[in-house]
């Protein structure tokens, strides 16, 4: 900052919001299972399995109560390569945001794939979970997916 009569003053600052969210019983159970290294979804009235677990049936709007375990492996249904991660990205190297449909699930979930380079990515590729070193009951307990 200039000492005398600067043309324009600027200042950086950080605005932080310390949110704590209640998870409710369904998302809470999903996260509790993640902490144990297991992935569960919920079964809908028409028999589909939603992962991450959803609280209400998309057709009947009834509360969903039946949990179903799914695999740690699945298939990439679509993806987008992030060549230059920015500061808040959880992977500080090039990676893909991808929709991954886990074996046993009927819908894909959004997560990251650490494939090393863009050429290693393709729709339909099989990937598996890479668990975080320390699991705390958060979606980031899945550190990312990696090619299976």
């Amino acid at each position: 900052m200039a000492e005398t009569n600067p043309e324009l003053l600027t200042k950086s600052f950080e605005l932080g919001y310390t949110y704590t969210r209640s998870t409710g019983p369904v998302i809470g159970h999903f996260l509790t299972e993640l902490r144990e290294g297991r992935i569960v979804g919920t079964r809908t009235s028409d028999g589909r399995v939603l992962v991450p677990a959803a609280e209400y049936d998309p057709v009947s709007a009834e509360a969903l109560t039946e949990f179903v375990s799914v695999a740690e492996e699945g298939v990439v249904t679509t993806w987008s390569w992030v060549a230059e991660p920015i500061s808040h990205h959880l992977l500080q190297k090039p990676f893909a945001f991808a929709l991954v449909r886990l074996d046993g699930a009927d819908v894909p979930m959004l997560h990251m794939v650490d494939a090393g380079e863009e050429g290693a990515m393709r729709t339909g590729m099989r990937v598996r979970v890479r668990w975080a070193a320390e699991r705390r009951g958060s979606i980031t307990d899945i550190a990312c997916f990696e090619p299976a």
Partner: protein, 154 residues
């Protein structure tokens, strides 16, 4: 963590936003003057209102303001509230008074603290005067004024 940790019932999801604030021409002028211990606002050529701090335009008339007007560091409490809940990151300990203060010669109140008085005795219309920080602490900030204090006899 115990062998059977409690089920997850909540998650912490803080959001931190990084800003690069640019004061703009009018506020830069104001902050440059306040660093010298002077309060300088701007007068609207349309309605003659004087704004402190200046924004470089008149919100009522929608036209630029350029004429600079130096004002005194004394005015009246236009409205106020007693803050009882601590604000995260704010070093000021509640309860304290946050007031809209209309400086003499200006037409729009500015927000500041009122101190050196029992909070219960603060009232609308009370005359107050700036309590400046020591000169060596002055910087490009309205906080060069530590707070406003009652004027004797008001």
């Amino acid at each position: 963590m115990s062998d059977t940790p409690a089920p997850v019932t909540g998650i912490e999801v803080p959001i931190n936003l990084q800003y690069e604030f640019t004061a703009g021409k009018a506020l830069t002028r104001f902050l440059t003057r306040i660093r010298e211990g002077r309060i300088v606002g701007q007068r609207c050529p349309g309605c003659n209102n004087v704004y402190v701090p200046p924004r470089g335009m008149c919100a009522a008339c929608g036209i630029p303001t350029e004429e600079e007007v130096e004002v005194v560091d004394e005015g009246i409490v236009e409205s106020f509230t007693v803050v009882h809940i601590p604000i995260p990151g704010n070093p000021i300990k509640p309860p304290f008074v946050a007031a809209n203060i209309l400086l003499d010669g200006t037409d729009m109140a500015c927000l500041h603290r009122v101190s050196e008085v029992d909070n219960a005795r603060v009232h609308v219309g009370m005359r107050v005067k700036a309590r400046w920080k020591p000169r060596e602490e002055w910087d490009y900030t309205f906080e060069n004024i530590a707070w406003f204090r009652p004027v004797e006899g008001s």
